[in-house]
């Protein structure tokens, strides 16, 4: 069972209109820029996929990666914790113009909702957001006299993640803080696709060092020397 996908274009070919797509990364760290750009290429060539719901911690930066995906008009709704960055011009403009919907979720709740989606936990209670606007309409319960908010799992049709090593069975490692949401999103998506900086044979990763076991990954595509969002933005890159 070899989960290798030869090209980026093939890796994103199955994502349909209206899909819920989790995209890994925290800012540019661990962001699968090449997978995102492949998705934009497909949209430019075919008009699909459109109307996506995207889950990411942020809302993109500059005019590359997630920001470019939004700018291309492919994203109907964004679920994130912090739609700000050094240069969040694209999301800000489109949000204020009513061209994109935003579901704002506290960062830890976002992480836990995604993990819950992957772990088969339909709902959980958290102290986070109790008594705030972000808890409005959510069930509340007390445990040992302390109030908690009920939050629901978050699942996706697809996850696009960036990993460091990947083997043909989908086992993954990450690089430094590039780990962030990536392992969780692999768990929560029906189809998780990882771009890996180096593809190795089965057994090429020490079983002790695997961070995402292959059971959570459906496709692996090698992208050697991947771009870093921060470096691209400092160079003024625009993906258009």
């Amino acid at each position: 069972m070899d989960k290798t996908i030869p090209t980026l274009a093939e890796a994103v070919a199955g994502i349909g209109d209206g899909a819920v797509v989790m995209i890994g990364g925290f800012g540019g760290s661990g962001a699968p820029i090449e997978l995102i750009h492949a998705l934009i290429d497909r949209f430019r060539a075919t008009g699909h996929p459109a109307g996506l719901t995207v889950v990411n911690n942020n809302a993109g930066n500059g005019h590359i990666g997630l920001a470019a995906l939004i700018e291309a008009g492919m994203v109907r709704k964004l679920i994130c914790s912090f739609p700000r960055s050094a240069d969040p011009v694209v999301f800000t403009r489109m949000y204020l113009a009513g061209q994109i919907e935003l579901e704002l979720v506290p960062q830890g709740t976002l992480a836990e909702r995604i993990r819950a989606g992957g772990a088969g936990i339909p709902a959980f209670y958290t102290p986070t957001s109790f008594g705030t606007d972000l808890a409005k309409g959510k069930p509340v319960a007390e445990f040992e006299g302390r109030p908690y908010v009920q939050e629901r799992w978050l699942k996706a049709d697809f996850a696009l993640v960036k990993a460091e090593l990947g083997d043909v069975q989908g086992n993954l490692t990450y690089r430094a803080a590039g780990r962030n949401f990536n392992p969780l999103m692999c768990m929560a998506a029906t189809v998780a696709i990882a771009q890996v900086s180096r593809l190795v044979h089965a057994g090429g990763i020490d079983p002790e060092k695997v961070i995402t076991p292959g059971i959570f990954v459906q496709g692996v595509v090698e992208v050697a020397d991947p771009a870093q969002e921060e470096a691209l933005n400092r160079a003024g890159a625009i993906y258009a």
Partner: protein, 223 residues
Amino acid sequence: MSDKLSNAQIAWRAAQDIADGAYVNLGIGFPEMVAKFQPPGRAAIFHTENGILNFGEAPPEGQEDWDLINAGKKAVTLKPGAAFFHHADSFAMVRGGHLDVAILGAYQVAETGDLANWSTGPKGVPAVGGAMDLVHGAKRVAVITEHVTKDGAPKLVDRCTLPLTGVACVTRVYTSLAVIDIEGGRFVLREQLASMPFETLQSLTGARLHRPGPVADLIVPEL
């Protein structure tokens, strides 16, 4: 061929339905035997509750590593592409629907899909392990079992009388006499031993066997 399948033959039959690359959890004891009978060219990836994916056979006697065991506490080995993880991640795999198949033993299976396999009643020490998680987690939950108890009582019943492991969770049962699907709250007979008349099979079964489609001969090799 004898008048019923041996445990090895039941396990062999169950193994034929496991696809290449499938993620599989085998219950401790009898179900572990299924791993021996993967068809040539197919390699399932076996999961064990205690935190290994892609483990292999037992090591030779004397070469056991007692940190490298399966859920039955038996020493195992690793295959290329194995991974270790902690118990919460392990049951995220189970509960989160990431396993393709779980194969368990049974005391009783009901036509509703209910399973009883963890307790024979209030006497003795109860023990449940991961069974209750597996039956509501894996995409497909199958049972392998003798068709009747040692006393000859049906194990396939209309309603379980023993404490339940899970409700409406089993979808296929491989027995010593037949292969039976559970669909819409009914036992649907798919395969039966050619040597046994249907009426005999029905008489050994505690609920009605339905035959909405063709019933194949249950054919297994000598093992």
